[in-house]
Symmetry: D2
Subunit: 378 residues, 4 copies
């Protein structure tokens, strides 16, 4: 794989590399790792890349790599830059025939997202979007269980993502992650909603298989002089008549990174907390709550296929992330081998989820600007 971004000072790039490394399927062979060409070179040296494959810009990378013999060039590119630098490298990658792993949200604007969607469809290339949380095995289990009908029709969804790290004007201190995430020129039209609200939306729609049809969002900026939202409370309506609540925040003082979900069907419900991702609480009408655990004999096929160690050996965020890379790379390998991929690996977020996320952002921000008026998605 090649990488765009993720060099010195970055956070998520290293996460991608660790996730890609776990299963020994993927090797970083080249990169344009920093917006500053000199930093890009130093960053490449940090990672022991071969000098000739440390690129100063992604344009250079796509250009040079395309010219390498097929079995020498990178198989795919991983784009781990801030939001405003997703579209261009992704577009270039696709136009140059490279498969793509891209950070979320998919792009800076819905328009860009739709262009990428068309390009993916036209080229037939493999495209993965790193909505990490749906990579957890327990989320696969939840999805399977709701699909099976064991909980009956879904009535209510409560999904929340309260962070506290932007409770103070951290962006004024030069903190790199805070700075771009609160900058409309780099993050897009939304702060908290784009950064974490989309994860919540993706988690809810992935598990339930439902679609949010309209929403009413009270969007706030609590920290003075901050340019983007740092909090949103959203009422949801789903295409099957279910109702829901989604709230996300960066000003919930003292919270770390707890993305949590509860989904209530007619006959039972589930509750999952990322804090303890290998556990799911399954509640029933007239029976004791059951506590599902990954790595056990009673887990379903999809969960089992995304679990690496036995029950009681906790797996975490990197392993969830690695599940996306593993599945993506298996599909890419099949593609390179000219065979059909094993369907079990066709289980990672794609450009479709990316477009969906951009529509969600647009709807939330529009509703927020309109005093939380009901706003349709699509």
């Amino acid at each position: 794989m090649g990488m765009v971004g993720g060099g010195r000072g970055a956070f998520i790039g290293a996460v991608h590399r660790m996730a890609a490394g776990i299963d020994s399927q993927i090797e970083l062979v080249c990169g344009a790792l920093h917006v500053d060409p000199d930093e890009a070179v130093l960053s490449g040296q940090d990672l022991y890349l071969k000098p000739e494959r440390i690129y100063r810009t992604y344009n250079e990378m796509f250009d040079k790599e395309s010219q390498l013999p097929e079995d020498e060039r990178m198989d795919f590119v991983s784009i781990v830059t801030p939001n405003h630098v997703h579209f261009e490298p992704a577009k270039l990658a696709l136009e140059n025939g490279f498969h793509v792993v891209c950070e979320k949200p998919l792009s800076f604007s819905l328009d860009e997202a739709l262009q990428l969607q068309r390009l993916v469809n036209d080229t037939g290339l493999v495209f993965a979007l790193t909505h990490t949380y749906t990579g957890y095995p327990m989320i696969k289990q939840a999805r399977e269980m709701f699909k099976s009908g064991v909980f009956g029709k879904i009535r209510k969804v409560v999904v929340e993502y309260p962070q506290g790290w932007l409770s103070t004007p951290l962006e004024k201190t030069g903190h790199q992650q805070a700075t771009w995430r609160t900058d409309p020129m780099r993050s897009g039209k939304s702060g908290s909603v784009g950064d974490i609200g989309t994860h919540a939306e993706n988690l809810a729609e992935t598990i339930t298989g439902l679609r949010i049809t309209e929403l009413s969002a009270d969007v706030s900026t609590f920290v003075e002089n901050r340019l983007l939202d740092d909090d949103a409370n959203v009422l949801l309506r789903f295409n099957n008549g279910a109702k829901g609540v989604l709230h996300c925040s960066q000003i919930c003082a003292g919270e770390e990174n707890p993305i949590n979900i509860r989904i209530y069907g007619e006959k039972g419900s589930i509750q999952w907390h990322q804090h303890d991702p290998n556990t799911m609480y399954v509640k029933w009408l007239e029976r004791p709550m059951e506590v599902y655990r990954t790595g056990t004999s009673y887990m379903g096929e999809a969960a089992a296929a995304h679990t690496r160690v036995p029950a009681g050996h906790p797996e975490g965020y990197l392993e969830a992330f690695a599940n996306i890379y593993r599945n993506f790379s298996k599909v890419v390998q099949a593609r390179l081998a000219g065979v059909e991929p094993d369907p079990q690996f066709l289980d990672f977020p794609t450009v479709e989820e990316g477009v969906r996320g951009m529509k969600f952002i647009d709807a939330v921000i529009a509703s927020g600007k309109n005093n939380a008026a009901w706003t349709k998605i699509e």
Copy 2:
């Protein structure tokens, strides 16, 4: 004390009696315990009341008790009937000079509530509303801590009360609690919002000291043919600029009775779950979360005054309930003795909270009927 309602087949009446019994301050001396006069008599016999003080109707009770010598008559009455039978006995009690403990919500309609409020103010009698959850010592602690300013300005409140017991049409089975709670003629204009949403509202306003100024409510009835709401998702705005989410439900399959609250200030936050009421999670920006526990040396004065046993000896719902009765009875005792009550006992929900709750119900239901339009409270 005398009691209206709470006889055979009732639930909350027995709870009131246990709560009143814990501190050996209060004795049940008379009652009109059932809407059916014969059942009222049998219920009185069940409780070993003296035959002459088992009344067939509350009218009879107020009439007869008023005629007893002052030191023989009941000191106050406890009204534990369904919502539509709060107003009349409360009014009669006040008019006959009896102090009142009344179940929530205060009344069937806001108009009734306002009448009771005037009557309480005019008579100067003591009136307690059993919003039990604010009787927990940890809620006193939370209230004290927010008041102290240690968390800074409040930014966000998330309060939830998801029950699951009405996931099926239980009212069709003759279940007494379900039947009246889903009947507009007995419950009032709301089901879930009146029954439990008001507890959530009361909890949020009590701890924060803030007032909800407007709300946007998506109110639903999920169980077919049910006549009242069984679910509501509500966006909140507070008088200091804070935002919030309140959701309550009776169709959250598998949930018992978890009223939970999280309140976020600029510098820290608290989290409390009724499931484990003696524990409060206190989170800070750059320090480890602290876990406050009742009965410990570091608890504040108000919490300590409402705790009966040392740390690690769990107290529960009945003890919270008993705190209301204890405080109320201490104030009544002072009143009977013609002295000022110790201010520490002036700590229980009153008719004011009752009026507030009725306004909340009205606003939620109005908003719900208007597609969740923002609706002001007062």
Copy 3:
């Protein structure tokens, strides 16, 4: 009921009175509430006892009460004094024909315990020992489930009771609870083992129905100059071949009052923490863990009979305590009425458990003095 001890400065007496008050079955009518006769009088006034039934000594109380007409005298006595004042008042009570509730451990020495046992057997009077923790409904449920055989043969028991309140030499500060509990003249031959180790032993034997046959105990005193043990680690062997660990402590800094138990059978196991007494974790070999909760529809008969409020309304220590009083008083009522008690009420710890506890203390202390040599219990 009458009470011996429990006046000014006492802790557990008030707990007894609250527990006795919850179900409105029991009224405190007289007492000899303090070892100092003047304090005894003041304590009786605090509790609004009739002056003529405030006694200066328990001898006086038994003497005077026996002379009252049968329907006026107290029905039973509650003994809530330090350990060295259990035997005499209990003996006097039984000799004077009064039923007895007694604090644990039963007595100062095994010899006293055996005398009381004989006396109870000879008189046929009702005797309850307040091993509170087995009063919790969930403990009844656990006992029923093990009896049913659903978990197979029991293999291992881990029971623990780590407190931290005596981590410092609190007895040097004049702290009343600490002082007598660390004084061999008042507490007996053991500190932590008698005070809380016996609760752990009682809990284990009650749930499993097994008997500890021998034990190996490492008994320690960590706080300098303390005269009794403040920590014990004990290996257990049971009469069915099961093994176990029991550890109790008063120097586990930071611990409150967590008595916890895990019991492992061939096919499954349970885990219970007093911290959250309404919950029991039930684990199986190849199925998800189940979380049992009091007040639910699936709880067994015994648990249901000892639960006062619906699921999700937490019950605590006082309610567990009240279960002992309720059952005891129902049996006493039957006895007074000359009828057989309902067998469901014959469910409280008796003098037998008291004797058992004294034998346990003797064995642990003997083993401890003998470098943890295996020591048989009876």
Copy 4:
């Protein structure tokens, strides 16, 4: 790295490879992956090893690799075989100048362990033992805090490792992991104690810095016809006067893999559960319990150095494992570069811990055979 064992049918080999892969520092270049030479070849092919570096036996591997030029041969070997095949390959590796990562327990017998210890000392080669649990960042934090004296002198340690997977005679079903672990010819003189008891011992001694001086162990085999112990309850005495309890089991029906520890000092205590490894409960005498979390700003240097993602992004077992590999590989790299390693990387279990573990096993088994007589460790 080269690998001995870990081929088809193995469990821990894959874990080693994933752990080694996370930080992109280590590449598997050769292996003798199975005791059956043909399976060894197939296993090597599974992992895409170069054919010439797939070895049929570890003898062949050490022989051939030693003959390769220094910059081509493997830098170290990872030994992931059952216990009876640790000593020989480790010895050969050391004798041939290869650094070693070895699974625990170090060897089949204490004698072997002592030989390896001498060999490591004589050769000066780097040797890591994969006591994974001490690789968790929170364990580093606990160790640092106890070392700092903030908790005062340690008084009591409770460490437990109750598994349930061998509750039935799983070894009779041909289950590979169960079979060798219950076979004295492959596992050594102990089953549960060697497999998991040593982890508990290592965890306790690592955090506290104390040494167990003597122990009293009740060692059991509950499953009929099993040849090795499947349960042990152990009393501990430490070199500073602290006491402790260690219990480990493979027959705790329903338990997964919960290694847990509580350590009590004079002024405070910690509690850690592997289930939620990023959390540590820190309790104090008169202050609220604090909940420490990895990835936060208040964590100490050692914990921070072993954490890969921010607070709230759970890290798990593989990451703890990877910490051993990362540190080991950094030290090996320094050695290969002829420089002193950064002292922060000298933080992984070595042959010393391995010898200590073998002595622990010997003492527990000896005590167990002698009716739990106190038995000294060295």
